[in-house]
């Protein structure tokens, strides 16, 4: 080990190059995984917190038309089943009603979401996205609308909006409410079409005092789609308790875009990782091979003195191992450090044009990074392993030197 370190010090330039061949791919991968992971978390949080929850319990959709959820007249059996299930962090009743929204001479097709503000407000970012006015309170007679819809209907805080419920399973109901809050939705289409009102108010749109369309559920300890097993465990348990006629739809079904992003991003990252690994491996092979060839005489001498071929291989592999693990460690360290520094400053804001594109995908307009321990360790260990594998060839070559020929090579 001591001799290996001295060899590495003797040729600092080449050692540094080999180190960088490992360090740079690891650093880049940690950074890229951090970017993808943070984006994934953003998309997942936006989708699950605002729209789908981790899963929803609803009636088996036998009568549904046009993407509208069937009405449930009594959610009590569902709530009972949820109360008996472990791992539930939060649940709320929701009533989604397609409607026509009018203000003055203007009108727009929307969907009204009847929510329980006292429970929904515990986690939903809609409350945090309010840019004017305030969020709903329990029993309040008001509506919160998106910035885009406010512009379309030319509404401001206090302006009255008339909603005409159009659920295919219910009689038409009318609701006249003032706008109490305007939110800036992460997704522009959501900002144009979503109106949130108190659950009781929404029920007047279908003229059924106990109606709901789903119970939205969040599971304890879920920080991103990588925790899907926790959701699966809860839904598996709950499915045994649900009364007949109800089904569970989880985020994969309700927010397919997140799943699509995952399905595209992971293979893309793997391809990039493989490319980095190959490039890193080529540099490692090249530099170590040159190092071995430069030391032909010395390695021949070591063989002449009686060293086995395995030991000569071991010497080269020790040098490669030191560089591989140091490169992997410092690469991971640098990657995590950059992520922590970027996040300490609240991320990197995107220029407005790009921010709009990001927001249309359900992402924030700020680039966030996230260091996932698993990704960091995987990047570092995989690159170190690739570098060691690449070092096998020069090490094997070194072990093949015939003592006399190797010593004559430079004489």
């Amino acid at each position: 080990m001591k001799a290996a370190i001295r060899h590495l010090k003797r040729n600092k330039g080449r050692s540094l190059l080999t180190l960088l061949a490992v360090l740079i791919p690891v650093y880049t991968l940690v950074f890229m995984f951090g970017f993808a992971s943070a984006n994934l978390r953003d998309m997942f949080e936006t989708a699950t917190n605002i729209e789908s929850g981790h899963f929803q319990v609803r009636e088996i959709q036998e009568r549904a038309t046009g993407g509208t959820l069937q009405l449930i007249d009594d959610v009590a059996p569902v709530l009972g089943a949820l109360d008996d299930t472990d791992g539930i962090a939060w649940r709320t009743i929701r009533l989604d009603v397609p409607a026509l929204a009018s203000a003055g001479a203007r009108s727009e097709t929307v969907y009204v979401q009847g929510v329980e503000p006292e429970t929904v407000a515990r986690i939903t970012p809609i409350e945090t996205l309010i840019v004017e006015g305030e969020y709903l309170t329990a029993g309040s007679n008001g509506a919160v609308i998106g910035v885009e819809l406010a512009q379309t209907l030319d509404l401001t805080i206090g302006g009255e909006i008339i909603l005409l419920g159009a659920h295919p399973e219910a009689a038409m109901g009318i609701l006249k409410v003032p706008v109490v809050g305007i939110f800036d939705a992460p997704d522009a289409s959501m900002g144009r079409s979503l109106i949130q009102v108190d659950l009781a108010s929404a029920r007047t749109l279908v003229r059924r005092p106990t109606a709901a369309t789903a119970v939205v559920v969040m599971v304890e300890g879920v920080t991103g789609p990588w925790d899907v097993h926790k959701i699966d465990a809860v839904t598996a348990d709950l499915s045994t308790r649900l009364p007949a006629g109800f089904e569970i739809a989880d985020w994969r079904e309700l927010a397919p875009m997140v799943l699509s992003y995952m399905n595209v991003m992971r293979p893309a990252l793997m391809i990039m990782a493989a490319t980095f690994f190959v490039l890193g491996a080529l540099v490692v092979v090249n530099t170590l091979y040159l190092s071995v060839m430069e030391r032909t005489r010395e390695l021949g001498l070591i063989r002449a003195l009686g060293s086995s071929r395995l030991r000569v291989m071991g010497m080269i592999m020790t040098e490669a191992g030191i560089l591989a693990f140091a490169g992997a460690f410092y690469g991971a360290l640098a990657g995590v450090a950059v992520i922590l520094i970027v996040e300490a400053f609240g991320g990197v804001p995107l220029p407005a044009r790009f921010a709009e594109v990001f927001r249309s995908l359900g992402l924030s307009g700020v680039i966030h990074l996230r260091a996932e321990l698993g990704d960091v360790v995987l990047s570092a260990v995989a690159m170190a392993a690739v570098a060691l594998f690449a070092a096998l060839f020069p090490a094997w070559r070194a072990a093949q030197f015939e003592p006399v020929e190797a010593m004559r090579y430079v004489e």
Partner: protein, 236 residues
């Protein structure tokens, strides 16, 4: 001197091939080397001295004939078996010193002991002792490039004898040294031969050294032209 030879060669041949051109280096050498001998092999350039040393040391393989080390034929040994034989039975001193540049004098000397698997404390103790015996202990912590050529060759001798091998093979050990240093080195090797009973077989074309050996083998064109015992009395 024991009657059974330490090394015996029988009709030893070595021919180098470069494409279709064959160059014979040894053409049937019969030789016996005995324990505690201090033998030089002399001859003009290209006479086969280095080739003979390489074959005796298991660094290369003959194209004909056989070498017996302590009665055992070497031709059937694998590369790793030959490496093990070199490690445990043969010490080498090369013309160009050939010390490992990243190891100190002490570490160079102890390196072969490390290859033998001897524990660190013992190999350090043995290496220090031999460096002391050769008068170079003060350089123990120096790197080879910090000491003179003569001192480096002394370290090479120390490395060759520290394992107490059956024989030390030295290929032109004084070729890069001035006269005084060359004579010092040969006297040192002779002292090790006399005091420790180490067997030496070295190649040289330096006539100034030849009166210090007790046996001189002269090679000409790959054959033993003369085998002369100069001192009939066995070494002490």
């Amino acid at each position: 001197m024991s009657n059974s030879p330490l090394i015996r060669t029988s009709d030893l041949e070595k021919t180098y091939k470069t494409g279709s051109i064959e160059t014979p280096a040894l053409r049937g050498v019969d030789l016996e080397l005995h324990e505690k001998e201090f033998t030089a092999v002399a001859g003009p350039s290209g006479s086969g001295k280095s080739t003979l040393l390489h074959l005796l040391g298991g660094l290369d393989r003959p194209t004909g004939g056989e070498i017996y080390l302590e009665g055992k034929a070497m031709s059937g040994l694998s590369k790793d078996q030959l490496a093990k034989l070199r490690l445990n039975h043969i010490g080498f001193v090369f013309q160009a010193y050939n010390l490992i540049p990243v190891l100190t004098v002490l570490e160079n000397t102890a390196f072969v002991l490390e290859l033998q698997g001897i524990v660190r404390s013992q190999r350090i103790e043995r290496a220090r002792r031999i460096l002391g015996e050769l008068g170079i202990e003060e350089y123990a912590d120096q790197y080879p490039n910090r000491i003179s050529g003569g001192q480096q060759q002394r370290v090479a001798v120390a490395r060759a004898v520290v394992t107490e091998p059956s024989i030390v093979l030295a290929d032109e050990p004084t070729a890069n040294l001035d006269t005084a240093t060359s004579l010092d080195l040969i006297d040192l090797m002779r002292r090790l031969n006399e005091e420790k009973g180490a067997t030496f077989f070295f190649a040289t074309h330096d006539n100034r050294l030849l009166d210090r050996v007790n046996r001189l083998v002269t090679l000409v064109d790959g054959r033993v032209a003369r085998d002369e015992v100069r001192d009939s009395a066995p070494p002490p």
